[in-house]
Symmetry: C2
Subunit: 327 residues, 2 copies
Amino acid sequence: MGTVDRVLHNRGRVSTETWERVQRIVRETRYTPNLGARRLSTSKTWTIAAVFPRSDQDGGFWKEADRGLQRAAEDFGGFGLRSRSFSFDRTKSSDLGRAIREAASSGVDGILLAPVIPEAALEALSKLKNELPLVLFDTPLPEAQALCFVGQDAFSAGRIGARLLSFGVPDPSRIACVAVKPSDYHIGQRVEGFTSFFAAGSAPGIFQLDIDLGDRSIESLLRQIGNSLPAIDGIYVSNAAVGAVAQVLSQRRKRPLIIGHDLTASSLESLQSGSIDFLIAQHPALQVREAMRLFWRHFADDFELPKEQYVPIDVVGHESWAYYREI
Amino acid sequence: MGTVDRVLHNRGRVSTETWERVQRIVRETRYTPNLGARRLSTSKTWTIAAVFPRSDQDGGFWKEADRGLQRAAEDFGGFGLRSRSFSFDRTKSSDLGRAIREAASSGVDGILLAPVIPEAALEALSKLKNELPLVLFDTPLPEAQALCFVGQDAFSAGRIGARLLSFGVPDPSRIACVAVKPSDYHIGQRVEGFTSFFAAGSAPGIFQLDIDLGDRSIESLLRQIGNSLPAIDGIYVSNAAVGAVAQVLSQRRKRPLIIGHDLTASSLESLQSGSIDFLIAQHPALQVREAMRLFWRHFADDFELPKEQYVPIDVVGHESWAYYREI
DNA sequence: CTGTTAGCGCGTTCAT
DNA sequence: ATGAACGCGCTAACAG
């Protein structure tokens, strides 16, 4: 048994002859290791540090990520894959760094990170002493040495938004695109994807909205839109701020068609009350579940992870949002 | 150890006192069994018979189910969960019965079934001698004694179709609903959901299409629609026949907006070429993966399955179909 | 009713 | 360079 083990794990100290004999038998019998037994003998468990914003931020968006973590625990907990949360305050970039440092020095075996503030994440990651397996979700960060990014193709998501809104409003000059600030990488990508849908020269007007300024800024944005365009029949908002925009618009007699991104508590409320038509969702729970699955395969099976693992671009309406909480 | 084991598995032969003491310690220490070790000692494997139509039928729809099976093998194969396919010819109801009987008598530990011909499935199931754990997907069959149904809420899916098409065509009198025959339970439900969206008296006209009759019948259907309605701006088709309908329509100068159900080879082709606007998909690969996951939890962890496990209602456009092949 | 024991497949010593 | 022996956590059979 020792010899076979040494062959399987390339530990040397085996004569070429025996080495080949073992390899041949491995092939012929299609031997695959019993992963459970392997784990049993090494009595190894893996803990993943889950680093993403506090679950009360972004309108409850991150609660869904928590749910994914729980789901993953059900699936893989019995095989020794655990997780530990290191949440941070996403309004403070220094707090992201703190969370990453704490996670890295806590003795975990891997980090699952939503780098919502790319620069801060990158800096904190680059200063880490120990190299830990890293999987990203939600926001891509190509510069980081991650095993894999699990998430949505934001460009295509924005483009689907344009296609959807054009379905309802064929004339692009009657469409407004609201680009929300502060913008991170994938929100920018969404806007790019959105505008890419339209022929050059006929793209809808783009309006910046600084969401930190609250409802007043929405009012002024809508005035601004009203002034610069003759008539607006459709509005696209590049993130969950669509909920707040819809809220304001819903008080008017006649509202334009309105779509946006991300299923959060506020945007969901507007979807349910009928003041938003469709939301483009990205299913953070599924992303986290998938990421944990990949971690498991990486540790237990030595599986080479894909660089990117994209998740579906979900278009959600009043009748279908509930089913996203099921899986 | 024996006593603890007897408590954990409710095998009796333990005094109430010790029983409670063990339970208490289980709670206090948050004991969870090491599933790998459990499987190692029993050296048990479970084989699931996967019973669904041949992968060349329904425009390749079932190929996706195969892919889900493969994905599940990657995830759970190492834990002893295997599958074996028993495909059937869905045009012959007797063949469904044959497949079920073969599956049931093949010594498998469970059956994963797409009961696309409900009556035939029900009859074959009722005549089975041995009771095997059964999980259904794709088509619900409430009368069967299944552990769980994994699939889409067809009513809501149809209703989302109506909402989507109304988004593009606000006037219901300019919408046509094509109800495809032969219709099974969930295709009927889709049409119900579709019409439920509209106020009584203003629902779009419903036209029957017998898809077995080929393109000629589509031509005559479209003539029929053209005769009975002044102008049609949007068409909804209740299944993947939307591909064929779109094909015919695409040869015309100006086509109405068109949406339908299910991502098959033919409907996908029309989506890609731009002759279909959106498809409502149901992700059979994810359904199968989820079903296998539930089987695993049932066998390994004694988990009580939910009666229904709904999957998302996917609205897919030109830019987003590809991402459904990723997960 | 309770405790003991063997063995599942593997990785890891430790002798040889 | 090779093989024997132990233990990981658990189940099943058996002795008491």
